[in-house]
């Protein structure tokens, strides 16, 4: 498992360079990628379903990105996109296409919906953390809006 995490770190580092991230941001972004892959593998190996593992990993790496973005004074997107890359369901997409050309429509639809659901779970995790963070950082404004005086 350790080697998988290191390989995920290297892959995210490579993507950070492709996206032209420079300086400290690059290291933290790559760590985010390693972290998200570690969470995903750990949850899968402990019997949690793929979709739920993706959702929980997505929440964890989003929290990590929000905290590091405040510390590094960089936009959150810089860290989130590198942490997201290992979890994107590229394999699901490939196997969906593979089953389609073999003519196995039932398998293709099943895998296709699974892929869409995985992408949706990732998106939902990012949305959850982003929305809650916006409210938490503006607690005073939240109180004003709720108890409108």
């Amino acid at each position: 498992m350790i080697e998988q995490v290191i390989i995920a770190f290297v892959a995210s580092f490579g993507f950070g360079i492709i996206f032209n991230i420079k300086g400290k941001n690059l290291i933290f972004a790559a760590i985010g990628g390693g972290l998200s892959w570690f969470c995903y593998l750990y949850l899968i190996q402990n019997g949690i379903s793929t979709i739920l593992s993706l959702f929980i990993s997505s929440i964890l790496f989003s929290i990590y990105s929000e905290i590091c973005a405040r510390y590094l004074k960089t936009p959150v997107t810089t860290l989130v996109v590198c942490a997201l890359i290992p979890l994107v369901p590229g394999a699901g997409m490939y196997y969906t296409m593979y089953e389609t050309i073999l003519g196995n429509i039932k398998g293709a639809v099943e895998l296709g919906l699974n892929t869409l659901a995985s992408a949706g779970a990732l998106a939902l995790g990012v949305i959850f953390v982003s929305t809650i963070t916006k409210q938490v950082t503006n607690l005073k404004k939240v109180k004003e809006k709720l108890f409108n005086k």
Binding site: I7, F15, N20, M93
Partner: protein, 249 residues
């Protein structure tokens, strides 16, 4: 106060950010922030993935500018730098001329050299094939295919070819090379090698920005980017599938 100069500079800042892959709300906020900081009374900007419209007012003067965006890439360093610069003008005293100079410096800041980008792309492709269950031979196979695809992408981007063609072509190229490598015994698992290399084509930033734009309420940008990401995925699948179907049957 030179309203025309201000609107040109702030729109330029927005254009660079948008061309580097920033979110819609970030571009709009940056443009407004710059205009208000330098004395405009009101600043309204409307940003979609292919253009910017800005109107600023100062007493009775009104200035409007429309800027079209034709090329879109990924450059997170530029987004960070311009974001930082536009926040700094609120705390430090930077006059408009210096701001413009800093902006041009950011715009001309070179990326990592093409060689390093190529090397990192191929290593990343190889790493992904291992992460999806491949072995060492798949790593090298996927790395070589990744490097080839990256060269193809760079050439196509210079020629400004639409990304759906680029992704189908690269998907097909990936499939052909993977099958040749399989025949030459340079890779063990066809599927792991192909998956590793097509991860380079996956539109990670577009997906992230689609999510963030939709949360921020910019449904036009959010839905546009989501459909773009979906169509890219379909193009990759079609390109890869077409080649595989010829040789599997």
């Amino acid at each position: 106060m030179d309203l025309n100069k201000l609107i040109k500079i702030s729109t330029l800042a927005g254009k660079i950010m948008l061309e580097s892959g920033a979110e819609t709300y970030r571009v709009e906020e940056t443009i407004s922030r710059i205009c208000i900081a330098y004395g405009a009374h009101t600043a309204d900007s409307f940003v979609i993935p292919t253009g910017i419209i800005v109107t600023i007012t100062y007493y009775d003067e009104v200035a409007t500018l429309v800027k079209r965006i034709t090329s879109r890439g990924v450059d997170l360093n530029k987004i960070d730098a311009i974001n930082d610069l536009s926040r700094r003008i609120q705390t430090e005293a930077i006059n408009l001329g210096d701001f413009n100079k800093n902006l041009m410096k950011i715009a001309n800041d070179p990326r990592y050299s093409p060689l390093i980008t190529l090397l990192c792309s191929s290593i990343a492709a190889g790493c992904f094939s291992i992460m999806f269950g491949g072995d060492l031979k798949d790593f090298f196979g996927a790395s070589l295919i990744g490097a080839t695809i990256k060269i193809a992408i760079i050439i196509f981007q210079k020629l400004n070819i639409n990304e759906f063609f680029v992704n189908s072509f690269c998907g097909g190229l990936c499939a052909i090379l993977a099958m040749i490598f399989l025949k030459l015994n340079l890779c063990s698992n066809l599927d792991k090698t192909i998956i590793g290399s097509i991860m380079l084509l996956v539109p990670g930033l577009i997906i992230t920005n689609a999510i963030r734009d939709t949360i921020a309420g910019d449904f036009l940008s959010g839905i546009t980017k989501a459909s773009e990401a979906f169509l890219i995925a379909v193009s990759i699948a079609v390109g890869t599938g077409a080649i595989l179907s010829i040789f599997i049957q």
